[in-house]
Symmetry: C2
């Protein structure tokens, strides 16, 4: 069979305050078009359908419309799991009715070890889980980590393997060796929560969600993150987003990447303020693109964000890339302990490239004296 | 056909802080038992399935389990609408799949004017609505009130009437003439929001939700509120809760009431503190019942709530029924304008049945002088 692998839709997510529903609907339409053009037999969504356990009504109606469209209108079988961003209970509302039209949505570990069979393939749809729920499921207090849990779960799944079928795992966790991107929180990936990829060897294909970059497991031919359909952080700005098309009738399975074209891109611009504001300088961005600015200037600029917004209305980040390095190891203790006025004068000279004028020095002195008086 | 009419489950509702899920599950089991014993062909739930637009996960999983049980396990067709307490969007998640097993859940006005046909009956499942949504639906700016909206909606429904079928309206609003109970807010019932019962004449039966007392429309033989399955306020303490069983093969339809037995009842006890605390006095209540106390005493009682709780752990209300009447019209202006010490002495004598002692009068004087000084 042939299926499409996507994940981490995060419907309802906002990017630095900007609503992404328009971009998410556009990405959905592209995914649907790929699914139809590629004549896939099923669509796999590997968790984090919503961005929040308590999605807004807009997010609920948007995702519902997408799932209704794919499954009820286009008659595409759906295979989905809850991710760590979803509320398993809320997402699972109605799941017992979904199976009547081959929409399989698993939200518990118990559901995950029983395969869903479509064509030549057994799908194990394992939702995001915490070790305690696997501990409960196996009644085994020894299970402390996600990796220990997966050892038991894979064994339980293997007991249900039909040797005449291909075996696909759909899961939502951090597989060891992954390079994570900023849009996943550090504390949630890696460490005790990682699953070594060796554990996943029994499967013909592993369709993962959780990390937002498909590059996270570059060296694994059949263990793949699809990544998110949209860029959710500047660390993903250079990425090409997309979905995997997986053919299970080959051994090993055949995996091809189908890119998505962002409706409004996330672009990092590194330049000086003068050039950024210069109408003569053309940047390959639209006024709806999300812009992260790396400012190369070293001098202070008044109202910098406000002024940049007149040219780039959807700025999401502003960083100074030529900042003075003031990390502790670079500081000379003697210099730091000098009197405030000397420190201020030195600092001013460093960023402004000329010393304080006599008048400025006078203002600085008066202000510092005033500040010290108030401190007492 | 024969159907069961219930409404206003309010799953997740708390009664003065007490979780009602246990009582709600018990009421559900009784409703199911009645449906099975009466061999009904369908169950109608006329809105307010949840108590809140954003129900807790516990509430979601509780209601979901009930609906799965009724429809998927017991194979009972379900006919339901969203009420004013439900979020139409959230409740409606998955509704497009539900119809495959005869579970019809309407959340929009457009859905309400198209009948669902089961056996000899056309059901019009009209969710709770605001006039603006009907204004939008008919593209008619003249529609300002719920009554005006209903005129148009009933006409639209009648255009879809099959003369060979019975016609049942399932709706969630305040029908004029109803006596409301305290558990519905005054501002939401009556006035511009009322629907005159005359408008409902075209239907063989109207299954209403919104008001919590089945007594709300006593004189209407075929326009009925089922009321809530549980007592949600002390004004309902004397009510018998239950469901209607409706047989559509008679003209007029046959309507019979099936009572529910409260697992833990809501009881009003009117008595003196001394008797209420007296272990010799037996009240027909259990320690899990919800108790509203009407205290007949006129004298002050220290820690009255705390002490009553030792005998009645789930007190939900405490009222003094022999309070002095201090409503404005009973007050003598001259009396009110007397000096604070005289007022205090008079008040003390009224509630304590004896005047202040000399020592008490001294304390009162000192305290009042102190208070007046602080006021300046």
């Amino acid at each position: 069979m042939r299926f499409l692998h996507t994940a981490d839709w995060h419907i309802g997510k906002k990017l630095h305050g900007y609503d992404l529903l328009t971009e998410q609907r556009d990405a959905y339409e592209q995914i649907k078009a790929i699914a139809l053009a590629q004549k896939v037999d099923a669509v796999v969504i590997a968790g984090d359908l919503y961005d929040r356990a308590l999605p807004s009504e807009d997010a609920v109606s948007t995702l519902d419309a997408m799932l209704v469209d794919l499954n009820r209108r286009q008659h595409l079988p759906l295979l989905a799991i809850s991710g760590n961003h979803d509320s398993a209970v809320r997402l699972g509302q109605g799941r017992e009715w979904f199976e009547s039209t081959d929409f399989y949505l698993n939200t518990t570990v118990a559901e995950g070890v029983k395969p869903v069979v479509l064509g030549d393939t057994q799908f194990f749809l394992l939702p995001y889980f915490e070790p305690f729920s696997v501990r409960q499921y196996f009644q085994d207090e020894q299970i402390k980590t996600v990796a220990e849990a997966m050892v038991r779960l894979v064994t339980a799944m293997q007991a249900n393997f039909d040797p005449d079928k291909k075996h696909v795992l759909v899961a939502h966790f951090f597989a060891a060796g992954s390079q994570h991107s900023d849009s996943e929180t550090l504390v949630q990936v890696g460490g005790l929560n990682a699953v070594p990829v060796d554990l996943l060897a029994p499967f013909d294909y592993v369709a993962l969600g959780h990390l937002h970059r498909k590059e996270a497991l570059q060296n694994e031919p059949v263990i793949k993150y699809s990544g998110s359909p949209l860029k959710f952080s500047t660390s993903e700005a250079a990425d090409t987003k997309g979905v995997w098309i997986v053919d299970t009738d080959k051994t090993p399975v055949k995996v091809t990447f189908e890119p998505l074209k962002p409706l409004n891109d996330l672009v990092v611009l590194t330049d000086s303020f003068e050039r950024l504001m210069d109408p003569e300088v053309a940047y390959p961005v639209t006024s709806d693109d999300f812009i992260a600015v790396n400012l190369t200037d070293t001098t202070p600029i008044a109202n910098v964000m406000q002024r940049l917004k007149t040219r780039f209305p959807r700025i999401i980040e502003l960083q100074r890339v030529n900042q003075l390095d003031v990390t502790p190891e670079k500081l000379n203790i003697e210099e730091v302990q000098r009197d405030p006025l000397t420190l201020l004068s030195d600092f001013f000279e460093q960023v402004a490239d000329h010393p304080l004028t006599t008048q400025q020095a006078g203002w600085a002195k008066t202000t510092l004296q005033q500040a010290m008086k108030e401190e007492k």
